[in-house]
Homo-oligomer: 192 residues x 2
Amino acid sequence: MVRSRAAVVAGAAELLLNDGPGAVTIDAVVQRTGVARSTIYRHFPTSTDVLRAAVEAVLPVSVPGESGDDDGERPNPTQLRDALRRRLRATADHLVGGAWTRALPALLELVARDPSLEEHRAQIVARHREPLLDLLRVVRDAGLLPADADLAVVADRLLGPLFYRRLVSGEPLTHELCDHLVDTVLTPGDPR
Amino acid sequence: MVRSRAAVVAGAAELLLNDGPGAVTIDAVVQRTGVARSTIYRHFPTSTDVLRAAVEAVLPVSVPGESGDDDGERPNPTQLRDALRRRLRATADHLVGGAWTRALPALLELVARDPSLEEHRAQIVARHREPLLDLLRVVRDAGLLPADADLAVVADRLLGPLFYRRLVSGEPLTHELCDHLVDTVLTPGDPR
DNA sequence: TCAGTACGAGACAGTATCGTACCGAAAGGG
DNA sequence: CCCTTTCGGTACGATACTGTCTCGTACTGA
Protein backbone atom coordinates (compact mmCIF):
# COMPACT_ATOMS: atom_id res chain seq x y z
CA MET A 1 0.00 0.00 0.00
CA VAL A 2 2.83 2.32 0.89
CA ARG A 3 5.03 0.98 -1.80
CA SER A 4 2.64 1.60 -4.64
CA ARG A 5 1.92 5.12 -3.44
CA ALA A 6 5.61 5.91 -3.27
CA ALA A 7 6.08 4.51 -6.75
CA VAL A 8 3.32 6.75 -8.04
CA VAL A 9 4.85 9.85 -6.49
CA ALA A 10 8.29 8.97 -7.76
CA GLY A 11 7.05 8.35 -11.26
CA ALA A 12 5.01 11.53 -11.27
CA ALA A 13 8.04 13.47 -10.07
CA GLU A 14 10.14 12.05 -12.88
CA LEU A 15 7.50 13.03 -15.39
CA LEU A 16 7.29 16.50 -13.87
CA LEU A 17 11.03 17.01 -14.14
CA ASN A 18 11.48 15.47 -17.55
CA ASP A 19 8.44 16.63 -19.46
CA GLY A 20 6.79 19.29 -17.39
CA PRO A 21 3.58 19.49 -15.44
CA GLY A 22 1.46 18.80 -18.49
CA ALA A 23 2.99 15.36 -18.77
CA VAL A 24 1.94 14.27 -15.30
CA THR A 25 -0.98 12.21 -16.49
CA ILE A 26 -2.61 9.26 -14.85
CA ASP A 27 -2.02 7.19 -17.93
CA ALA A 28 1.59 8.28 -18.10
CA VAL A 29 2.13 7.41 -14.45
CA VAL A 30 0.46 4.07 -15.01
CA GLN A 31 2.67 3.28 -17.94
CA ARG A 32 5.82 4.48 -16.21
CA THR A 33 5.34 2.89 -12.82
CA GLY A 34 3.30 -0.20 -13.59
CA VAL A 35 0.87 0.81 -10.90
CA ALA A 36 -2.71 0.34 -12.03
CA ARG A 37 -5.14 3.18 -12.48
CA SER A 38 -7.38 1.79 -9.82
CA THR A 39 -4.53 1.76 -7.34
CA ILE A 40 -3.64 5.35 -8.10
CA TYR A 41 -7.20 6.45 -7.61
CA ARG A 42 -7.26 4.50 -4.39
CA HIS A 43 -4.46 6.70 -3.08
CA PHE A 44 -5.29 10.05 -4.66
CA PRO A 45 -8.72 11.52 -5.09
CA THR A 46 -7.85 13.23 -8.36
CA SER A 47 -5.00 13.60 -10.79
CA THR A 48 -4.27 17.08 -9.51
CA ASP A 49 -3.38 15.62 -6.15
CA VAL A 50 -0.87 13.39 -7.84
CA LEU A 51 0.72 16.47 -9.38
CA ARG A 52 0.79 18.24 -6.04
CA ALA A 53 2.43 15.28 -4.39
CA ALA A 54 5.00 15.24 -7.17
CA VAL A 55 5.79 18.93 -6.68
CA GLU A 56 6.08 18.43 -2.97
CA ALA A 57 8.32 15.45 -3.48
CA VAL A 58 10.65 17.07 -5.97
CA LEU A 59 11.47 20.50 -4.70
CA PRO A 60 12.51 20.14 -1.07
CA VAL A 61 15.04 17.58 -2.15
CA SER A 62 16.84 20.03 -4.35
CA VAL A 63 17.80 22.43 -1.59
CA PRO A 64 21.55 22.24 -1.46
CA GLY A 65 23.00 21.21 1.90
CA GLU A 66 26.63 22.38 2.06
CA SER A 67 26.52 23.23 5.75
CA GLY A 68 29.08 22.17 8.29
CA ASP A 69 30.88 25.48 8.07
CA ASP A 70 29.15 26.55 11.23
CA ASP A 71 31.60 25.03 13.65
CA GLY A 72 31.64 28.04 15.92
CA GLU A 73 35.29 28.51 15.12
CA ARG A 74 35.47 32.27 14.73
CA PRO A 75 36.76 32.34 11.18
CA ASN A 76 38.76 35.18 9.75
CA PRO A 77 37.50 37.48 7.00
CA THR A 78 39.24 35.62 4.23
CA GLN A 79 37.71 32.35 5.33
CA LEU A 80 34.30 33.96 5.46
CA ARG A 81 34.62 35.39 2.01
CA ASP A 82 35.70 32.04 0.68
CA ALA A 83 32.81 30.36 2.44
CA LEU A 84 30.40 32.78 0.83
CA ARG A 85 31.99 32.19 -2.54
CA ARG A 86 31.74 28.45 -2.13
CA ARG A 87 28.13 28.70 -1.07
CA LEU A 88 27.20 30.85 -4.06
CA ARG A 89 29.15 28.64 -6.41
CA ALA A 90 27.32 25.62 -5.04
CA THR A 91 24.03 27.38 -5.57
CA ALA A 92 24.98 28.22 -9.13
CA ASP A 93 26.02 24.65 -9.83
CA HIS A 94 22.79 23.42 -8.37
CA LEU A 95 20.89 25.88 -10.49
CA VAL A 96 22.58 24.63 -13.62
CA GLY A 97 22.68 20.93 -13.15
CA GLY A 98 20.02 20.02 -10.67
CA ALA A 99 16.34 19.53 -10.81
CA TRP A 100 15.75 23.22 -10.35
CA THR A 101 16.27 23.96 -13.99
CA ARG A 102 13.34 21.81 -14.95
CA ALA A 103 11.26 22.12 -11.84
CA LEU A 104 11.38 25.85 -11.28
CA PRO A 105 9.57 26.98 -14.42
CA ALA A 106 7.01 24.29 -13.82
CA LEU A 107 6.57 25.34 -10.23
CA LEU A 108 6.29 29.00 -11.15
CA GLU A 109 3.66 28.16 -13.70
CA LEU A 110 1.75 26.04 -11.23
CA VAL A 111 1.90 28.70 -8.55
CA ALA A 112 0.75 31.36 -10.97
CA ARG A 113 -2.23 29.17 -11.75
CA ASP A 114 -3.04 27.61 -8.42
CA PRO A 115 -2.74 30.06 -5.51
CA SER A 116 -3.03 27.23 -3.01
CA LEU A 117 0.52 26.27 -3.92
CA GLU A 118 1.77 29.70 -2.90
CA GLU A 119 2.42 28.44 0.60
CA HIS A 120 4.60 25.66 -0.69
CA ARG A 121 6.54 28.11 -2.80
CA ALA A 122 7.18 30.32 0.20
CA GLN A 123 8.37 27.39 2.30
CA ILE A 124 10.62 26.12 -0.42
CA VAL A 125 12.19 29.51 -1.03
CA ALA A 126 12.64 30.10 2.68
CA ARG A 127 14.34 26.76 3.13
CA HIS A 128 16.51 27.55 0.16
CA ARG A 129 17.64 30.92 1.45
CA GLU A 130 18.04 30.04 5.09
CA PRO A 131 21.58 28.67 4.93
CA LEU A 132 22.71 31.68 2.93
CA LEU A 133 21.10 34.06 5.37
CA ASP A 134 22.76 32.27 8.28
CA LEU A 135 26.10 32.63 6.60
CA LEU A 136 25.45 36.27 5.82
CA ARG A 137 24.64 36.88 9.47
CA VAL A 138 28.01 35.54 10.47
CA VAL A 139 29.61 37.61 7.75
CA ARG A 140 27.90 40.73 8.96
CA ASP A 141 28.87 40.07 12.56
CA ALA A 142 32.44 39.72 11.41
CA GLY A 143 32.30 43.24 10.02
CA LEU A 144 32.37 42.34 6.33
CA LEU A 145 28.95 43.89 5.90
CA PRO A 146 27.57 47.08 7.37
CA ALA A 147 25.97 46.42 10.73
CA ASP A 148 22.68 47.79 9.50
CA ALA A 149 22.70 45.94 6.22
CA ASP A 150 19.45 44.29 5.20
CA LEU A 151 20.50 40.70 4.80
CA ALA A 152 17.47 39.87 2.74
CA VAL A 153 18.48 42.49 0.20
CA VAL A 154 22.04 41.20 0.22
CA ALA A 155 20.72 37.73 -0.47
CA ASP A 156 18.67 39.14 -3.32
CA ARG A 157 21.78 40.77 -4.76
CA LEU A 158 23.60 37.45 -4.63
CA LEU A 159 20.86 35.09 -5.76
CA GLY A 160 18.99 37.44 -8.05
CA PRO A 161 21.56 37.65 -10.83
CA LEU A 162 22.03 33.89 -10.75
CA PHE A 163 18.34 33.12 -11.04
CA TYR A 164 17.92 35.89 -13.58
CA ARG A 165 20.57 34.45 -15.81
CA ARG A 166 19.32 30.95 -15.42
CA LEU A 167 15.64 31.64 -15.80
CA VAL A 168 15.34 34.73 -17.93
CA SER A 169 18.38 35.64 -19.95
CA GLY A 170 19.79 32.17 -20.40
CA GLU A 171 23.37 33.34 -20.05
CA PRO A 172 25.83 30.96 -18.44
CA LEU A 173 26.56 30.84 -14.73
CA THR A 174 30.27 30.88 -14.08
CA HIS A 175 32.18 30.64 -10.87
CA GLU A 176 33.80 33.91 -11.80
CA LEU A 177 30.40 35.57 -11.80
CA CYS A 178 29.71 34.14 -8.35
CA ASP A 179 32.97 35.42 -6.97
CA HIS A 180 32.38 38.79 -8.56
CA LEU A 181 28.95 39.02 -6.99
CA VAL A 182 30.36 38.16 -3.59
CA ASP A 183 32.96 40.87 -4.06
CA THR A 184 30.42 43.50 -5.01
CA VAL A 185 28.40 42.66 -1.95
CA LEU A 186 31.18 42.31 0.53
CA THR A 187 33.87 44.87 -0.03
CA PRO A 188 32.32 48.24 -0.59
CA GLY A 189 35.63 49.66 -1.73
CA ASP A 190 36.38 47.28 -4.56
CA PRO A 191 34.86 48.38 -7.88
CA ARG A 192 34.55 46.64 -11.24
CA MET B 1 -8.26 39.42 -43.28
CA VAL B 2 -6.06 41.50 -41.07
CA ARG B 3 -8.87 42.24 -38.66
CA SER B 4 -9.74 38.66 -37.88
CA ARG B 5 -6.13 37.67 -37.48
CA ALA B 6 -5.54 40.51 -35.08
CA ALA B 7 -8.63 39.52 -33.15
CA VAL B 8 -7.35 35.97 -32.87
CA VAL B 9 -3.98 37.08 -31.60
CA ALA B 10 -5.53 39.49 -29.13
CA GLY B 11 -7.93 36.90 -27.82
CA ALA B 12 -5.20 34.31 -27.53
CA ALA B 13 -3.04 36.80 -25.68
CA GLU B 14 -5.84 37.50 -23.22
CA LEU B 15 -6.30 33.81 -22.62
CA LEU B 16 -2.56 33.40 -22.17
CA LEU B 17 -2.40 36.15 -19.60
CA ASN B 18 -5.56 35.27 -17.75
CA ASP B 19 -5.53 31.51 -17.68
CA GLY B 20 -2.11 30.42 -18.77
CA PRO B 21 -0.77 28.75 -21.89
CA GLY B 22 -2.91 25.70 -21.39
CA ALA B 23 -6.00 27.80 -21.92
CA VAL B 24 -4.98 28.97 -25.37
CA THR B 25 -7.23 26.60 -27.23
CA ILE B 26 -8.73 26.98 -30.64
CA ASP B 27 -12.18 26.48 -29.21
CA ALA B 28 -11.51 29.01 -26.48
CA VAL B 29 -10.26 31.56 -28.99
CA VAL B 30 -13.29 30.89 -31.16
CA GLN B 31 -15.65 31.40 -28.26
CA ARG B 32 -13.84 34.47 -26.98
CA THR B 33 -13.30 36.29 -30.24
CA GLY B 34 -16.22 35.16 -32.36
CA VAL B 35 -13.77 34.29 -35.10
CA ALA B 36 -14.61 31.00 -36.73
CA ARG B 37 -12.41 27.96 -36.55
CA SER B 38 -11.97 27.90 -40.28
CA THR B 39 -10.76 31.48 -40.22
CA ILE B 40 -8.24 30.74 -37.52
CA TYR B 41 -6.89 27.78 -39.44
CA ARG B 42 -6.75 29.95 -42.52
CA HIS B 43 -4.28 32.21 -40.72
CA PHE B 44 -2.36 29.73 -38.62
CA PRO B 45 -1.23 26.27 -39.65
CA THR B 46 -1.64 24.84 -36.15
CA SER B 47 -2.81 25.80 -32.70
CA THR B 48 0.77 26.01 -31.51
CA ASP B 49 1.36 28.84 -33.94
CA VAL B 50 -1.54 30.70 -32.40
CA LEU B 51 0.10 30.33 -29.03
CA ARG B 52 3.41 31.51 -30.43
CA ALA B 53 1.78 34.56 -31.93
CA ALA B 54 0.15 35.28 -28.60
CA VAL B 55 3.46 35.09 -26.79
CA GLU B 56 5.07 37.28 -29.37
CA ALA B 57 2.22 39.75 -29.13
CA VAL B 58 2.23 39.96 -25.37
CA LEU B 59 5.83 40.27 -24.42
CA PRO B 60 7.44 42.83 -26.69
CA VAL B 61 4.67 45.25 -25.85
CA SER B 62 5.61 45.18 -22.24
CA VAL B 63 9.12 46.47 -22.79
CA PRO B 64 9.00 49.89 -21.25
CA GLY B 65 10.02 52.69 -23.57
CA GLU B 66 11.11 55.61 -21.40
CA SER B 67 13.75 56.80 -23.78
CA GLY B 68 14.19 60.35 -24.90
CA ASP B 69 16.97 60.92 -22.41
CA ASP B 70 19.41 60.41 -25.18
CA ASP B 71 19.41 63.95 -26.43
CA GLY B 72 23.16 64.16 -26.66
CA GLU B 73 23.12 66.77 -23.97
CA ARG B 74 26.07 65.59 -21.90
CA PRO B 75 24.21 65.14 -18.59
CA ASN B 76 25.92 65.47 -15.25
CA PRO B 77 26.43 62.52 -12.89
CA THR B 78 23.42 63.31 -10.75
CA GLN B 79 21.17 63.38 -13.78
CA LEU B 80 22.57 60.08 -14.92
CA ARG B 81 22.04 58.45 -11.57
CA ASP B 82 18.48 59.71 -11.51
CA ALA B 83 17.90 58.46 -15.02
CA LEU B 84 19.13 55.03 -14.01
CA ARG B 85 16.91 55.08 -10.96
CA ARG B 86 13.91 56.07 -13.02
CA ARG B 87 14.62 53.38 -15.52
CA LEU B 88 14.91 50.68 -12.87
CA ARG B 89 11.83 51.94 -11.09
CA ALA B 90 9.91 51.80 -14.34
CA THR B 91 11.11 48.26 -14.88
CA ALA B 92 10.02 47.30 -11.38
CA ASP B 93 6.61 48.87 -11.87
CA HIS B 94 6.26 47.07 -15.12
CA LEU B 95 7.26 43.83 -13.50
CA VAL B 96 4.62 44.26 -10.82
CA GLY B 97 1.68 45.58 -12.71
CA GLY B 98 2.14 44.63 -16.29
CA ALA B 99 1.63 41.56 -18.32
CA TRP B 100 5.03 40.23 -17.34
CA THR B 101 3.73 38.86 -14.09
CA ARG B 102 1.42 36.51 -15.87
CA ALA B 103 3.29 36.06 -19.08
CA LEU B 104 6.77 35.37 -17.81
CA PRO B 105 6.08 32.11 -15.99
CA ALA B 106 4.09 30.99 -18.96
CA LEU B 107 6.88 31.91 -21.35
CA LEU B 108 9.51 30.22 -19.21
CA GLU B 109 7.44 27.08 -19.13
CA LEU B 110 6.95 27.19 -22.86
CA VAL B 111 10.63 27.71 -23.52
CA ALA B 112 11.58 24.93 -21.15
CA ARG B 113 9.30 22.65 -23.11
CA ASP B 114 9.71 23.85 -26.68
CA PRO B 115 13.31 24.66 -27.57
CA SER B 116 12.24 26.32 -30.78
CA LEU B 117 10.95 29.20 -28.69
CA GLU B 118 14.41 29.75 -27.28
CA GLU B 119 15.16 32.18 -30.07
CA HIS B 120 12.09 34.22 -29.24
CA ARG B 121 13.09 34.31 -25.62
CA ALA B 122 16.53 35.56 -26.48
CA GLN B 123 15.11 38.29 -28.72
CA ILE B 124 12.63 39.38 -26.11
CA VAL B 125 15.23 39.54 -23.38
CA ALA B 126 17.63 41.38 -25.63
CA ARG B 127 15.02 43.93 -26.57
CA HIS B 128 14.19 44.29 -22.93
CA ARG B 129 17.76 44.88 -21.83
CA GLU B 130 18.89 47.03 -24.69
CA PRO B 131 17.66 50.39 -23.37
CA LEU B 132 19.20 49.67 -20.00
CA LEU B 133 22.49 48.69 -21.58
CA ASP B 134 22.47 51.88 -23.66
CA LEU B 135 21.94 53.91 -20.55
CA LEU B 136 24.64 52.02 -18.72
CA ARG B 137 27.05 52.74 -21.55
CA VAL B 138 26.46 56.45 -21.14
CA VAL B 139 26.84 56.08 -17.41
CA ARG B 140 30.12 54.28 -17.81
CA ASP B 141 31.41 56.83 -20.26
CA ALA B 142 30.57 59.49 -17.72
CA GLY B 143 32.87 57.79 -15.25
CA LEU B 144 30.19 56.49 -12.89
CA LEU B 145 31.24 52.97 -13.66
CA PRO B 146 34.72 51.54 -14.06
CA ALA B 147 35.87 51.83 -17.65
CA ASP B 148 36.38 48.07 -17.84
CA ALA B 149 33.09 47.18 -16.21
CA ASP B 150 31.14 44.39 -17.85
CA LEU B 151 27.87 46.11 -18.59
CA ALA B 152 26.03 42.84 -18.99
CA VAL B 153 26.98 41.88 -15.46
CA VAL B 154 25.95 45.30 -14.20
CA ALA B 155 22.59 44.82 -15.88
CA ASP B 156 22.31 41.43 -14.23
CA ARG B 157 23.00 42.99 -10.87
CA LEU B 158 20.25 45.52 -11.47
CA LEU B 159 17.61 43.33 -13.06
CA GLY B 160 18.42 40.08 -11.30
CA PRO B 161 17.19 41.01 -7.83
CA LEU B 162 14.02 42.49 -9.29
CA PHE B 163 13.16 39.42 -11.31
CA TYR B 164 14.21 37.16 -8.46
CA ARG B 165 11.86 38.88 -6.06
CA ARG B 166 9.06 38.90 -8.51
CA LEU B 167 9.42 35.41 -9.82
CA VAL B 168 10.95 33.35 -7.07
CA SER B 169 10.73 34.83 -3.62
CA GLY B 170 7.53 36.80 -4.08
CA GLU B 171 8.78 39.70 -1.99
CA PRO B 172 7.60 43.19 -2.91
CA LEU B 173 9.43 45.46 -5.33
CA THR B 174 9.84 48.92 -3.86
CA HIS B 175 11.31 52.04 -5.37
CA GLU B 176 13.67 52.10 -2.41
CA LEU B 177 15.02 48.75 -3.48
CA CYS B 178 15.57 50.05 -6.99
CA ASP B 179 17.42 53.10 -5.76
CA HIS B 180 19.47 50.96 -3.45
CA LEU B 181 20.44 48.65 -6.28
CA VAL B 182 21.47 51.59 -8.44
CA ASP B 183 23.58 52.87 -5.56
CA THR B 184 25.32 49.55 -5.04
CA VAL B 185 26.14 49.39 -8.71
CA LEU B 186 27.16 52.94 -9.29
CA THR B 187 29.13 54.30 -6.40
CA PRO B 188 31.70 51.81 -5.32
CA GLY B 189 32.43 53.81 -2.16
CA ASP B 190 28.93 53.86 -0.76
CA PRO B 191 28.19 50.79 1.36
CA ARG B 192 24.97 49.49 2.94
C1' DT C 1 -25.08 42.31 -61.93
C1' DC C 2 -21.60 39.01 -61.02
C1' DA C 3 -17.50 36.75 -59.50
C1' DG C 4 -14.07 36.61 -55.94
C1' DT C 5 -12.91 36.87 -51.22
C1' DA C 6 -13.15 36.87 -46.35
C1' DC C 7 -15.64 35.10 -42.94
C1' DG C 8 -19.07 32.71 -39.70
C1' DA C 9 -21.29 28.37 -38.50
C1' DG C 10 -20.97 23.93 -37.56
C1' DA C 11 -20.41 18.84 -38.54
C1' DC C 12 -17.03 15.29 -38.40
C1' DA C 13 -13.41 11.86 -37.14
C1' DG C 14 -9.46 11.14 -34.43
C1' DT C 15 -7.07 11.36 -30.14
C1' DA C 16 -6.08 12.14 -25.23
C1' DT C 17 -7.40 12.35 -20.63
C1' DC C 18 -10.37 11.70 -16.84
C1' DG C 19 -12.74 9.10 -13.37
C1' DT C 20 -15.48 4.75 -12.51
C1' DA C 21 -16.54 -0.05 -12.50
C1' DC C 22 -15.65 -4.68 -12.65
C1' DC C 23 -12.70 -8.73 -12.71
C1' DG C 24 -9.00 -11.87 -11.47
C1' DA C 25 -4.45 -12.95 -9.30
C1' DA C 26 -1.34 -12.87 -5.39
C1' DA C 27 -0.50 -12.69 -0.57
C1' DG C 28 -1.12 -13.01 4.19
C1' DG C 29 -3.76 -14.31 8.45
C1' DG C 30 -6.84 -17.32 10.85
C1' DC D 1 -7.54 -24.39 3.25
C1' DC D 2 -10.29 -20.41 2.90
C1' DC D 3 -11.11 -15.47 3.15
C1' DT D 4 -9.99 -10.77 3.09
C1' DT D 5 -7.03 -7.20 1.50
C1' DT D 6 -4.23 -5.34 -2.01
C1' DC D 7 -3.27 -4.73 -6.41
C1' DG D 8 -2.91 -5.13 -11.68
C1' DG D 9 -5.64 -5.13 -15.94
C1' DT D 10 -8.95 -3.43 -18.65
C1' DA D 11 -13.27 -1.76 -20.44
C1' DC D 12 -16.21 2.00 -20.34
C1' DG D 13 -18.61 6.60 -20.74
C1' DA D 14 -17.76 11.47 -20.60
C1' DT D 15 -15.24 15.43 -22.06
C1' DA D 16 -12.07 18.36 -24.41
C1' DC D 17 -9.24 19.56 -28.09
C1' DT D 18 -7.53 19.09 -32.74
C1' DG D 19 -7.63 19.64 -37.64
C1' DT D 20 -10.49 19.11 -41.90
C1' DC D 21 -14.37 19.81 -44.37
C1' DT D 22 -18.65 21.81 -46.34
C1' DC D 23 -22.03 25.32 -46.64
C1' DG D 24 -24.08 29.90 -46.37
C1' DT D 25 -23.46 35.00 -46.12
C1' DA D 26 -21.76 39.63 -46.52
C1' DC D 27 -18.78 42.69 -48.81
C1' DT D 28 -16.25 44.53 -52.86
C1' DG D 29 -14.71 45.83 -57.21
C1' DA D 30 -15.16 45.32 -62.25
